[in-house]
């Protein structure tokens, strides 16, 4: 009896591990930023390059930092959701235009709609590196104290928005 039960048990454990492994997404690397202060930056605004913007300007508010680019195909996938979110005026969304040409970026926003309170230009991707960006789009939820509370890697889906991001924003806005 043991002769069959032991290999069967080992096999069952193996299957369990593989089954769990299949449901994980290897692209979702746990962010080391959660609950840490948002890295500092000071960048020129996309539409008014003479004006600078720093993450400090948002202290006291709950806000979203959305990393996007006109060359990024999945940015277009999430874009309608951002536009919808902006039209509901739930939360200010700051766009970080990552390694893009300003002309392309402005044309893209003119074409697909501009959900951003403002966008800043990170032409050489340096601020992106400070935020550990490795796959555009990425979105950070930042609380009143300027701490990162959540990071969405890849496009925002309706499921992520309604299941995680919006409840978190509401909770953070209450405190």
């Amino acid at each position: 009896m043991n002769r069959f039960l032991i290999p069967l048990g080992v096999f069952a454990v193996l299957v369990a591990f593989l089954a769990v492994g299949l449901t994980l997404n290897p692209r979702e690397v746990p962010s080391p930023f959660i609950n840490k202060p948002a890295p500092a930056f000071q960048l020129a605004q996309l539409h008014q390059p003479v004006l600078m913007f720093s993450q400090k300007d948002m202290l006291g508010q709950v806000w979203l930092l959305n990393i996007w680019a006109s060359w990024c195909a999945s940015c277009r996938d999430e874009h309608p959701l951002l536009v919808e979110l902006a039209s509901n005026r739930v939360v200010p969304i700051v766009g970080l235009n990552y390694k893009d040409k300003s002309g392309d970026a402005k044309a893209w926003l003119a074409r697909y709609g501009d959900p951003y309170t403002l966008s800043v230009t990170d032409a050489n991707g340096r601020t992106g590196i400070d935020y550990g960006v490795y796959g555009v789009p990425e979105t950070f939820v930042i609380d009143r104290a300027g701490r990162i509370r959540y990071k969405q890697i890849g496009p925002i889906t309706r499921q992520a928005l309604e299941g995680k991001i919006l409840p978190l924003i509401r909770e953070l806005q209450k405190s």
């Binding site: 290897p26 692209r27 080391p32 991707g125 590196i129 490795y134």
Partner: protein
């Protein structure tokens, strides 16, 4: 026959032209541009970028990958070496931003303990099972004596009587 040979020749020459046309591309792709004058700095930069994982194409190091992020991070490493940062500081810079995941050699901590000792653990278990089985088998070989009937049969075989045919 002649036309077939003619067609083959034409095909071959077309292929040769195509290869010739592509050859400058092939010559381009292999060359790494030396970006550092100081050979010591260059060596450190290469070594560091081999230790760090590219997050875009996760099975390549920053040194191997041609993803844009890898190019940026290689530049970042070189800038920091030039600015006089130590290897440890540069690695910390990367870990702060991308987490332990960027390290091809993950650090010792509670969450990576299984990763490090897992193979040893498996080896220990396998050795224990093997030893137990060997011991059991030896014990089984020793323990059983022949029955009287078997002993008689063995004797018959050994004395050359042969197996009686039914």
């Amino acid at each position: 026959m002649l036309t077939a040979a003619w067609r083959d020749a034409r095909l071959l020459s077309a292929l040769a032209t195509l290869l010739l046309a592509l050859s400058p591309l092939a010559a381009w792709s292999g060359e790494a541009v030396p970006t550092e004058q100081d050979p010591v700095h260059e060596k450190r930069a290469v070594k560091l970028s081999e230790e760090l994982r590219c997050l875009v194409c996760q099975n390549q190091s920053i040194a191997e990958s041609n993803a844009e992020l890898a190019v940026d991070l290689r530049r970042q490493i070189r800038e920091q070496i030039k600015a006089g940062r130590s290897d440890g500081e540069i690695v910390d810079f990367m870990v702060q931003r991308y987490g332990d995941f960027v390290l091809y050699r993950p650090p010792w901590k509670a969450t990576t303990l299984l990763l490090w000792i897992g193979p040893l653990l498996l080896l220990a278990i396998a050795t224990a099972v093997l030893l137990r089985n060997l011991r059991k088998r030896r014990a089984r070989a020793d323990e059983r004596d022949l029955t009287d009937e078997e002993r008689r049969r063995a004797e018959r075989l050994l004395t050359g009587g042969g197996e009686e045919q039914p």
